[in-house]
């Protein structure tokens, strides 16, 4: 990787972790459906998505690990809860309600696609190249989530009611996806995370809103106040710590050992 000044290293670490941690948690949640999804064909498709989320996270942990002289596994599993940068939405359980799983995925996939579009234009060549590759796979996740939301919205009364309930239930947490990581403004100025036209929030609302409308559903997401502190700055709720403990259960038995 190109030499990074110390002033940029911490903000970049936070940004990359915010994406990787989101993806690890999201992939983890999606993998819970492996073997239990409503239709076998979809079980296979959703498992593939969960694997891609985890693989994307792994690739980003590798980058962060290299910056800090740690292994990707140590970065993924060996941090204090307050050092994780994921948004709460990614660790919210779905109670095996398929509409919740789909809405969680829809919100996060659209957001990830926008983040990778920006990172693909980064002046850091290696990050840009990786982001192009990940972004291309991300686009297929977006398509998958879009198709499902539309199916559910148009799939009759029960399905529509459930899909709407899931949108309502997750809309509050969606706003906190946009909580900025520390120092992100510096990264924008230096061309490491170049801003695009319009705010991320506006673009996301437009993209997701289009799909929601096509599904015959409604969504209202109220932006969080600028000073709201959440997962991006290490403040996590119980849904996250519970999930992290489960995820690290075996790893912590012998953190130094190979598994």
């Amino acid at each position: 990787m190109q030499e990074l000044s110390d002033k940029l290293k911490a903000p970049l670490t936070d940004l990359l972790l915010s994406i990787a941690d989101d993806k690890l948690m999201l992939g983890h949640g999606a993998s819970d459906w492996t073997g239990l999804a409503p239709i076998l064909e979809e079980d296979i498709a959703f498992s593939a998505i969960s694997q891609e989320e985890i693989a994307h996270a792994a690739a980003l942990y590798e980058v962060v690990g290299t910056m800090h002289g740690r292994s990707a596994d140590a970065v993924a599993f060996g941090r204090e809860p307050s050092a994780y940068r994921c948004a709460e939405l990614t660790s919210l359980g779905d109670d095996f309600d398929w509409s919740r799983a789909i809405v969680r995925q829809l919100f996060c996939d659209h957001f990830d696609l926008l983040r990778f579009e920006r990172l693909a234009r980064s002046l850091l060549k290696s990050v840009a190249a990786l982001s192009k590759r990940i972004g291309a796979e991300e686009a297929t996740h977006v398509e998958h989530a879009d198709v499902w939301l539309i199916r559910l919205g148009r799939g009759g009364d029960e399905s529509k009611t459930r899909a709407q309930a899931a949108l309502n239930a997750l809309s509050g947490a969606a706003a906190m996806l946009f909580e900025p990581t520390d120092g992100v403004d510096v990264l924008e100025r230096e061309g490491i995370y170049p801003a695009g036209e319009g705010s991320l929030f506006d673009r996301w609302q437009e993209d997701v809103g289009r799909v929601v409308a096509e599904a015959g559903l409604t969504l209202e997401v109220v932006p969080s106040p600028a000073d709201a502190v959440g997962g991006r700055r290490g403040r996590h709720g119980e849904s996250f710590t519970g999930l992290l403990d489960e995820m690290c259960e075996v790893y912590r038995v012998e953190p130094e050992a190979a598994w």
Partner: protein
Amino acid sequence: MSAGVTSSEELRIDWKIQEDPDRMAAFQAHIDAKGLVEADDWMPHNYRVGMLRMAEHHANSEIVGALPEGEWITRAPSLRRKLALVAKVQDEVGHGQMLYRTSQDLGKSRDQMLRDLVTGKTRYHNVFNYPAPTWADVAMIQWLVDGAAILNQKSLAEGSYGPYVRTMKRINMEEAFHFKSGEDMVLTLMSGTKRQRQMAQEAFDRWWGPCLMFFGPPDRESTKTGPFMTWRIKTATNDTLREAYVDRFAPAARALGLNIHLARKNPDGLIAVKADGTPDKIEDPLIRLDESTGHWGFTQPDWDEFYRVIGGDGPCNKQRVALRRFSYEQGRWVRQAVMGCAGLPPSRN
């Protein structure tokens, strides 16, 4: 119900059925000449039913077999293992999907098969009624259970029903991959810390017996053989496969530093503990290579346990069926939404 749809009532073995003798003779000659039977070919009623039963049982086993390992996906101890485990369980679901398709073509709808599974009308492989209490069990399942499945499925790939045979070949390629990764996991544990080695040995103790039972009861007690061997629905006897398994795995386990024990189990499938707090197990005194036959000796597993577990009273029977049922019920509204019915699409459109 429209005409032409076979109701499940008709899908029973019935040896009193008189098939056309000329057709039967031609059918048997085709099979004896190693010919394959295709879905649209004429076949005796009992061949169809026997094949359907086997493919359906196999399909059920794949999707129930996804459960004990699936429980560990969220706790896999490294990124690489986590990815590999999701992919592995995904493969098993894929095997289930392929095998349900094969079964559908033999005359039973997928929804009916899933309903029969979750209501306990049909069964799945007995080995999945045992618990996987630690990460090392995941390693043992992939090594020992997938190893057993490969042996069995290689013999089934020599069978006579074309669609099933082709599915077996495809599945076996993926199973070989699972087996490799299982072997790697066991090797990693056995070359790890004392605690990891102990985890591996304890998991091995739990799975060795169920794996010996994997191939079914001893031939003298097995009722399934007869016509199904002549029709090449089955191609090897239970005891032959079991012997081949021990010949392969007894030396491999010992080479890895694992001891083969006779262990007493609790009803929950865990190794019983003696009054002094140590596990109730001894080394199997018969485990050694018999130079004169070239085969490894072993003590037969506890066949009473086998019949008890297969009869429904195993450590995890209730839990496995309940989880499949939960999944079936949770998914009902989704299937209704996307397909307009709780059922599933026919395999051939």
